[in-house]
Amino acid sequence: MASLTLDALTKRYGDNVVVKSVSLAVRDGEFLVLLGPSGCGKTTTLRMIAGFVPPSGGSMRIGDKDITTLPPWKRNAGLVFQSYALFPHMTVNENVGFGLDMRKVDRAETTARVAEALRLVRLEGFGERYPRQLSGGQQQRVALARALVIRPDVLLLDEPLSNLDAKLRLEVRLEIRALQQQLGLTTVMVTHDQEEALTMADRLVVMSDGAVRQVGTQSDLYERPADLFVADFVGRSTMISGTVAGAGAFRSDGGLMLSCQLSSAEGAATIALRPERLTLGAAAQGLANHATGKVTFVSYLGALLDVHVRLNDTDHVVVQIPNRSDGHVPAVGDMIEVGWPASACLVFPREVA
């Protein structure tokens, strides 16, 4: 295992820049997740690390070794694909042993290491089967064993869980994370599923339009999003647009005067509010910001309720409240008090489109 460093990595197709000068340092044993909507450049970045896409600029290092121009077969990177990509004509043992065969490892050691890798992914006794005889989850675990058995310097996961059904996804997610920690694997995973990203990563990288928007831990991204895009993409936010009117003061387009902990200069700005930071009813009155609004929609999520409240003609917020049996469930049309503390307002200057 080793660290992985990307320095101003860039990919251009003609005039179209799909990865814009991405620099990242993945620490030894760290699980880094590249997160972003489709087309944000995360997959291209991963494929450059794997060696399938030649960069147009910048460099990559594993440990102290420059790998920028090395072909994929000389990088010692373990790769797991969304489609599993097992070799259909080989048994599980042959699939897992393939990388060792390429490294000219002798037969006795290969047998031992393949068995060990299959034990790690809890597939002992499946060695003689063919991929088509396995379920999706089992196939993905074979793919993982195949990538691990070569003792890669970095493990690269390309949307590894997307083809699994929801329940299995949770299970394999935890399994991969546990293995990664147990073996101390330097890992880079690409995903568009933020829940997956949040549960697995040590640190996350949010990308859009080929550029890195923010790098940080889960709470960095959630509590202190660097920009409106991150606030919107990670977790849920309702947005209120308006203007910063002075220190700690914000006037919404609908005319509400709100107090915030300001991080933005005066001028056009947008406030992002996390739905669970808002309060309904009498308790709202003591908070720095409160207003009365009309319930327009209630969505019942089981343990939680989402209450949509229109504050005036332009401003509306979503409030998430726990679904308690003793509590009052607001009905559509109710007039209700909504409040939130100044610290709940994340203020961002309006992005110039």
């Binding site: 072909p71 077969w73 990177a77 694909f81 990509a85 097992l86 004509h89 393939f98 990388g99 793919a143």
Partner: protein, 271 residues
Amino acid sequence: MMADGRLVGRVALYGVAWLTLAFILMPLVFVTWLAFFAQEIPSFPPEGYSLKWFGAIAANRNFVTGFSTSLQVAVAATLIGLLIAVPASLILARRQFAGSAVLNQFLLLPLVVPGVVMGTSIYVFQIETEIATGLPILGSLGGLVAGHTLLVIPWTVRLVTASLTGLDRAAEEAAQSLGANQWTTFFRVTLPAIRPGVVAGALFGFVTSFGNLEMSLFLVGPGRVTLPIAILQYLEWKIDPTVAAVSVLQILLIAVAMIITDRYVKLARVV
């Protein structure tokens, strides 16, 4: 009413299907039947049955050498055809370049151009080449193989390309990330995955070459015959069940080839 209409429809469908099948099989059935007639002039009803015509094949030198030539040419043409078609298909299936669609159609052309036209043009080409270079091309076994390779290529290209488009590129990338260079990846991962297409293409190419008459007529040298030419020459002088017996052997050969092939790759899945 509805039920009646459906019944009529079903009867009509089955009727047409069986008629078509009978239409296809009829010549094969009659030729096979004819091969066992005892009398020399094929006429109905048969006067008795005999295996002597199969013996007559072995006694006819033209049939024996024709068979051997056809076999050699078909095998050689199929192998060379594969060597050209597999790399060509890899590029055609994976790279879009100016003219790639045209090239793809171009490789299928021998299926469309009439055999006589192909034969004539290759004949003229070989004469001109022979005059220009002084090499003995026309009438040589090599010249014949070269012509037949053109017959094999459309089949192999089409079937290998089809099997390549169904292949997951990620498997090849997985192999490379595990330490296999392009060559190892091709032989260990790509080739096994497209094997059904390769085998089926080779089989169809072989059969096409083995049964070809029109092109071979132009390209054989004096004294050299392929099996279809030997049959044609025989028919110029005689009509007796020997020809039917030869055909039966040819049908058997191809049937056996198909059955053996089918054991390894399910042809119905590829074609």
